[in-house]
Symmetry: C2
Subunit: 285 residues, 2 copies
């Protein structure tokens, strides 16, 4: 018997990314989205939500290094961290490596994502068993509206602004995020692609700019997302992502990273002219 | 009648990049390779050699800015530039914008690429009509072996090391490149992907390291190449790509770029740890 299975992520109606499937490990449909875990050829295990690639074992370190370590090395003493989304566990895994962090609360809306990753992608989800992690299955929008806790760093590790993640790109949400950050708090959010989704970036940054005194965009290379160049937003009450970053703290932490380093931290805030032009007035890079 | 045409670039046997085709403008087979020009949906006109995407109108500025302006802003007075390959004309277009450059020799092996681009992709190929460009249809390997001319900057704008470009990744070629560079000359070469082709990067850098006193790798984001993060090598007889780069010269040039700027120049030499580790001893970044 011959089988040639591929999974394809379509972008609009003009681009497709196809990955060779070795085996479908899990396929489910939750209240919020479809959830698939696939053993691929060439990229290890892969999580897809609503048909979009979220994580692969091969390159997840790039995304998780860059979403977690940039804010956590800018903030001089991050103790309490909140993650909204991030059901695969990779962001939590990187957050709790920081010695100063003694509590990482994570609010993920979809239990099916967490359960599937715990079972099939322990490379990321194993971190969710760590005692520093306080995992809440629930609505992140509701959580930030209702909580009385304050966090030093909030990481919005969301999917695209369709489906369950849509409110995570809105102003009401970020007003609540602002309110549950400490006076020197930082929020970093999944910020889409400058090549294909500059309008989403504009919209998200307009929201952030209306709430935070400082907003930045930084980029990294994601292997398995359409367009490769991927972005995070960095919004801050006090700290500047480069001027308040002391490169020595990276070495002093004695943490080893596969993607992140001091120079990558600084270089990530250097954006191409076409991005700077499109986001003029919305970012302080 | 319904037609749904796509063109797909396969990477090994586990990845495919598919682009929606509006119209096939040209399909030919030269002595060296197949040559296709396609009007795509979403990426404008696209050139493919042997089925691999070379250039699209949508993102070619990123590649051409980064291959040309990095060496030309490091070298303090580049007058004579040699391009090996680069048949689409985009690299030549950026080279001749530098006021100091009074002669750009380009040696492209495949007349069919040049002719197809002149006819269908004037956005890049129009530059080949400029009087500063001396276009030679011929073998770049033979050219650098036989020429008695000296060049300030040589740009190896090649396809992958299969087919006609294979000798452009070898030691004999780079010994000849060294010999036809001036005493402070720089050579920049298409350097493949750190995600998918780190072995080719290692091999190319080993060759360069055997010939040049200083070797570096720098990266940028290419929208339409597999993996996104793409690299150029920078090998130099004298100049350091950052320490000898004066950011002021970019503004003084009064040139406008869609991708390149002073910070991108510097940030491009910041590499992720997994790349630094794999290339340890081969690069001076």
């Amino acid at each position: 018997m011959h089988s040639d299975l591929w999974v394809e992520e379509k972008f609009e109606d003009f681009l497709g990314l196809r990955f060779k499937v070795e085996k479908v490990l899990f396929s489910g449909k939750s209240e919020f989205q479809t959830v698939d875990v696939i053993e691929t050829k060439g990229h290890g295990k892969m999580l897809l939500n609503d048909g979009l690639v979220m994580v692969t074992e091969r390159d997840e370190f790039a995304y998780h290094d860059m979403i977690a370590h940039v804010p956590l090395f800018v903030h001089p003493h991050p103790k309490k961290v909140l993650i909204i989304g991030g059901g695969d566990g990779g962001t939590a895994r990187e957050v709790i490596r920081h010695a100063s962090v003694n509590e990482c609360t994570m609010v993920e809306i979809d239990a099916m994502v967490v359960d599937a990753c715990k079972k099939y992608i322990p490379q990321t989800a194993q971190a969710l068993e760590n005692k520093k992690v306080n995992l809440i299955i629930g609505d992140g929008v509701k959580f930030v509206k209702e909580t009385t806790e304050k966090f030093d760093v909030i990481i919005v590790d969301s999917t695209d602004p369709i489906g369950p993640a849509q409110p995570l790109f809105g102003e009401a949400f970020y007003q609540d995020v602002y309110n549950c950050l400490t006076d020197d708090g930082i929020v970093v959010s999944q910020g889409e692609s400058s090549w294909y989704a500059i309008d989403i970036q504009k919209s998200l940054l307009s929201v952030l700019k209306g709430v935070f005194p400082q907003c930045y965009l930084y980029s990294f290379s994601n292997l398995t997302y359409p367009g490769g160049l991927w972005s995070f937003t960095f919004a801050s009450k006090k700290y500047h992502p480069i001027n308040d970053f002391n490169p020595k703290t990276v070495q002093e932490s004695q943490l080893a990273f596969d993607y992140y380093n001091e120079k990558i931290h600084q270089g990530a805030f250097s954006l191409p002219n076409f991005v700077l032009k499109a986001l003029q007035g919305l970012i302080d890079n």
